[in-house]
């Protein structure tokens, strides 16, 4: 269980990393925290011949804030969020989620950009950033583009990143101070990937409700009808039925067991938010 030969490039800047990716012609991968890529290399499951290590690119570790949003460099670790070492515009949700990921040893090295780029459907950040309506800054050869988190993830481990692009930053709009977040996650054991997770954002003052379900064998599902039903005052069995129907209508082929689990989790996410 040791990696096949590969060449190693230590990137000096975002531009240098992108150049290395371009040169790699589809067989180069970014190494961020290495918490998924390195085990995959050791298992010889990652087909690549060049590793582009961005670990020394300082600009990717910075966070900046303005009145409207907070911009996080893609190399910021889960632990940095957990420990509140970066600015927050999410009413504490991002710090909470950072502390929910895997184990502390993974959180010390794993990065928000790496997690999003891998797009494991069960990854905590994926659901969270879709819920927070975040945007990703993607760097490619000679250009930058911005893409909504919800549009970025195409499916399980599938994103709209081109072979020669990388995530440079994540821009999270500041949430209204009146908004409350709810979180519910089912994992079979401590530190495991989620079997199902939900994030709900409810702002009673402004009359908004947003609920997103993740770990659904694809991109996170934004349950618009469930959000509206909640605002319309539906609760308990009625709301449960709306969520269940919306999940069934999502096109995903959920088993009866999965459908129950995701419905429960969405309900509990909303309940958690509503209780705060």
């Amino acid at each position: 269980m040791k990696p096949a030969p590969f060449s190693y490039h230590r990137a000096t800047s975002v531009e240098d990393a992108v150049a290395a990716l371009t040169q790699g012609g589809g067989m180069a991968r970014i190494l961020a925290g290495g918490q998924s890529l390195v085990p995959m290399l050791n298992l010889r499951l990652a087909p690549l011949d060049t590793v582009v290590d961005i670990g020394r690119v300082e600009s990717l570790k910075q966070a900046q804030e303005d009145a409207a949003s907070v911009r996080y460099g893609s190399l910021i670790t889960h632990a940095a969020f957990e420990d509140k070492r970066v600015p927050d515009g999410s009413n504490g949700l991002m710090s909470f989620v950072g502390g929910q990921i895997a184990y502390r040893a993974v959180r010390n090295r794993g990065t928000i950009g790496g997690a999003i780029a891998l797009a494991d459907p069960a990854a905590d950040w994926l659901t969270t950033l879709v819920a927070l309506e975040a945007k990703l800054v993607v760097a490619g050869p000679g250009n930058r583009r911005t893409v909504a988190a919800a549009d970025f993830v195409v499916g399980s481990y599938l994103t709209d990143l081109a072979e020669n692009e990388m995530i440079e930053a994540i821009v999270v709009p500041r949430r209204a101070p009146t908004e409350r977040w709810g979180h519910y996650k089912v994992a079979r054991k401590t530190g495991e990937y989620a079997e199902s997770m939900a994030i709900a954002l409810i702002d009673k003052a402004r009359g908004t409700a947003r609920v997103v379900v993740g770990a659904t064998d694809g991109a996170p599902l934004v349950l618009d009808r469930a959000g509206r039903a909640f605002l319309d005052g539906q609760r308990d069995a009625a709301l449960h039925a709306v969520i269940r129907d919306e999940l069934m209508a999502s096109g995903r082929q959920f088993s009866a067991a999965r459908l129950t689990m995701h419905t429960t989790v969405a309900m509990r996410g909303l309940k958690d938010a509503a209780a705060k």
């Binding site: 040791k2 054991k189 129950t260």
Partner: protein, 791 residues
């Protein structure tokens, strides 16, 4: 020696029944343990096994790139190595030849095709990856039903079917019971297949020792002496030219208690090349290709009276034993042991048990902590609960009423086992009291504040341990594990060396055997050094498995040390100029009134100054003893476990809220170690119950080959287990010790399933398969709802 007599030095502070800290812990805690992966021999190459990526096929050709020629070796290169044959004496047993490297056919994903060698593991991996195997693929036999289909392709071409063997036990008239029984209850159950998951995976290093002219094999094994015997036979060389060393072994659990093709392949190639070779198993290989555990199916029918007293039991056990029969246990051990202990602690007079062992294209099934007994306990205990429910009574009461009474001991079971001693009902009552049955029933009757459902489960078992000659002969194995030796040797400076044939891989035997010596000799535990795990150091012994080492090697150490004690007393009395019958041993000295001499002085006389010895006394202080229990049918430990679970019907998640074990392993040598062994066993059993599984798909591909997909319980999943002790000494063993290494892992699948099903009763849902995953619980709830829900 009578059973319960803890001899002369019972006031000894470090003898039997005390809990000194473990001698071996210092080196482990300092990171100074030495495992196969820590051993390096000059000129050593690393090995990667090129393993089959397909489940079933014929090898047409293998292409080795030009640059790797001479670094890849096939079956033909070690053709002198005989296949491993583990044939049971049971009539009709179809034997498999398990070659060290596949000859023309591969029979499971992970079957070894070739050996690739290079200076480093990664380079050897590169070589393996560059080889191209051309297979003629055959239909994969990926499941028991597929294997037993009438037109199923044969895995072993010369067989008549894919059934290794079917055995039966029939006691009493089951047909008459079937016709007359007022209550009939049927259960179909399944246990998932999983792996052993020792912290240290397997590993083998082989090199030729020029000075000794012997092949030295370091293997992470539980039984080095026995490996030497079978290895010599397979290699066609004398045991005198082989040395097998088990260095520190990071957990065994049975998976290191087989003679595996990796050991044979590495030894054979090292012998042929005259070059040191080492293979360190990685976790992926471990999950795919180490001997697997469990995968049982049960069809059970209980015939009972209206109060739930079970009159007769009909059981069919089917085990998926994988592609080859493992040595020495044979493929049929798992099913045979399960059917052979099925009635457990219950007095069920009429029994029919059928044990079927099926061959499939999966990694071979081997022993794993608890062996067939975890399955038998799971089966009978689930059935007991079902019987109780069907007669409208609490399973706690029905369980206790069906048990063998203490006054019936020794008791011969319907499966022909001789239970030696114990009070099973009392053990169950103590467990029920400790878990607080009444309070749980009250809580169940109240509205749950968070919607979770509370369930109570109980399960009992009786466990044959330290069985000797009679039992192993009855099982018809290639080797009979009847005894253990101990060589006890003092040093001239008064320390005691114990050379034993068992192997210590976490059980604390370097301490508990020292405690036995301390019991006999009043020597401090710190002055006793236990040497084991090396065929050239210790007398020939059978190793550590089947919950036998404390009883067997403990008995041998006791016998050897008792003889040493006599001699020390004679020499001591002489040195003190005292009558022999007026001296005694205490605190590492021989005492006569207020005078005393230290063991060191006795040892000096024995080894360096024979002129100081009594007339006619032989010099030296060394005794070799061999021990076998008074009866070789086994000392039966037993226990009742109980747990309380909270099941979330919305997510299928199960939390264990409380867990109690009351157990009786006879006389406890070190209660601290006993308790830790029980808790460790429970942790593993919870893995079987809730987490661990290697499913196979229709192509015969294992679907859990890394820890991403294979889940084991961690610190936060294992509850704080409350352990209660009972001590009923075995009448058959020295000090009344019974084995207890495996017991903790036996009951958890049963107890958790009973608890989960108790919790699901309001929903009329029932789970029947381990591991009890959220998915299976939600499926059970959905199935119940589809049938109209709670009735």
């Amino acid at each position: 020696m009578s059973a319960a007599s803890v001899s002369a030095n019972s006031n000894n502070s470090q003898g039997i029944g005390s809990s000194p800290k473990r001698n071996e812990d210092q080196r482990f805690l300092d990171g100074k343990g030495e495992y196969v992966a820590d051993i390096r021999v000059p000129g050593m190459s690393e090995v990667v096994f090129l393993r089959s990526p397909i489940a079933h096929g014929r090898i047409r050709s293998i292409e080795v790139p030009q640059e790797h020629q001479g670094k890849v070796f096939f079956a033909a290169d070690i053709a002198f190595a005989k296949p491993i044959v583990a044939a049971s004496a049971a009539p009709g047993f179809q034997r498999s030849d398990y070659p060290p490297l596949a000859i023309d056919k591969v029979r499971f994903v992970g079957d070894i095709v070739a050996i690739c060698i290079a200076p480093t593991r990664a380079e050897a991996e590169d070589i393996a990856q560059a080889c191209v195997i051309d297979f003629e693929e055959l239909p994969p036999i990926w499941d028991i039903d597929v294997a037993l289909a009438p037109d199923a392709p044969l895995i072993h071409d010369h067989w008549t079917s894919n059934l290794y063997v079917e055995t039966r036990i029939e006691t009493g008239d089951i047909e008459a019971a079937r016709k007359s029984a007022p209550v009939t209850v049927h259960k179909s159950l399944r246990m998932g297949r999983h792996a052993g998951v020792s912290l240290e995976c397997r590993g083998v290093l082989a090199h030729h020792d020029r000075r000794m002219d012997e092949l030295v094999i370091y293997s992470s094994t539980q039984f080095p002496h026995v490996v030497r015997s079978v290895l010599a036979e397979c290699l066609g060389i004398s045991e005198g030219k082989l040395r097998v060393v088990a260095p520190d072994v990071g957990g065994g659990f049975g998976i290191k208690n087989n003679f595996n093709p990796e050991e044979l392949a590495i030894a054979a190639l090292a012998l042929k090349l005259g070059q040191p070779l080492r293979w360190i198993e990685d976790r992926r290989e471990h999950l795919i290709a180490s001997p697997h555990a469990r995968e049982h199916r049960y069809e059970l029918t209980a015939y009972a009276d209206p109060k739930g007293r079970i009159l007769a039991l009909d059981a069919v056990v089917v085990v998926d034993a994988g592609a080859y029969s493992v040595w020495p246990w044979t493929a049929s051990m798992e099913a045979g042991m399960s059917a052979g202990i099925m009635t457990g602690p219950y007095d069920i007079p009429i029994y029919r048990g059928i044990a079927r062992t099926v061959c499939t294209n999966k990694s071979p099934m081997g022993p794993y902590r608890g062996v067939g007994r975890s399955g038998a306990c799971f089966a009978i205990e689930t059935l007991i609960d079902a019987v109780a429910r069907s007669v409208g009574r609490d399973p706690v009461d029905v369980r206790i009423e069906n048990m063998v009474r203490p006054e019936a001991m020794p008791y011969r079971s319907a499966t022909h086992k001789l239970y030696d001693s114990g009070d099973y009902p009392e053990c169950a009552r103590r467990t029920a009291d400790a878990i607080g049955v009444a309070a749980i029933r009250k809580r169940q009757a109240e509205v749950s504040p968070d919607g979770r459902l509370i369930g109570l489960g109980m399960a009992s078992y009786t466990e044959q341990t330290a069985h000797g000659t009679a039992e192993w002969v009855a099982r018809g194995l290639p080797v009979v594990f009847g005894y253990e030796p101990a060589l006890a040797r003092f040093t001239p400076d008064g320390k005691l060396l114990l050379f034993v044939g068992i192997q210590n891989h976490g059980q604390g035997l370097e301490t508990t055997l020292a405690q036995v010596a301390s019991q006999e000799l009043s020597i401090p535990v710190a002055d006793v050094i236990v040497r084991h795990g090396d065929s050239s150091v210790s007398p020939y012994g059978m190793g550590t498995f089947a919950s036998r080492s404390m009883t067997m090697a403990g008995g041998a150490v006791s016998a050897a040390c008792a003889q040493l004690a006599e001699k020390i007393l004679r020499i001591g009395a002489h040195l003190l100029q005292a009558p022999r019958d007026e001296v005694r041993l205490a605190d590492g000295r021989v005492h006569f009134g207020t005078q005393s001499v230290a063991f060191k002085d006795v040892c000096q006389a024995a080894f360096l100054h024979p002129e100081r010895l009594p007339e006619g006394e032989d010099p030296a202080l060394e005794v070799n003893a061999v021990y076998q229990p008074g009866r070789s049918t086994g000392a039966f430990s037993y226990a009742t476990h109980a747990c309380v679970v909270a099941v979330d019907p919305g997510t299928g998640h199960t939390e264990i809220i409380d867990y109690v074990v009351c157990h009786d392993c006879g006389t406890m040598v070190n209660p601290m170690i006993v308790e830790a062994q029980v808790v460790g066993g429970v942790a593993q059993g919870l893995g079987t119950a809730l987490y661990e599984e290697i499913p196979y798909d229709e192509n015969g591909q294992p679907l859990a080959s890394t820890f991403l997909d294979y889940m084991i319980p961690g610190a936060t999943e294992v509850p704080d287990v409350r352990v209660l002790h009972m001590e009923t000494p075995s009448p058959h063993t020295r000090f009344g010790i019974k084995g207890m290494g495996e017991g903790g892992a036996i009951a958890p699948p049963a107890v958790v399933m009973n608890a989960v099903n108790d919790a699901l009763r309001p929903l009329s849902a029932t789970v029947t398969e381990t591991p009890i995953t959220p998915e299976r619980i939600l499926d059970a709830i959905a199935a119940s709802a589809a049938q109209g829900g709670p009735t």
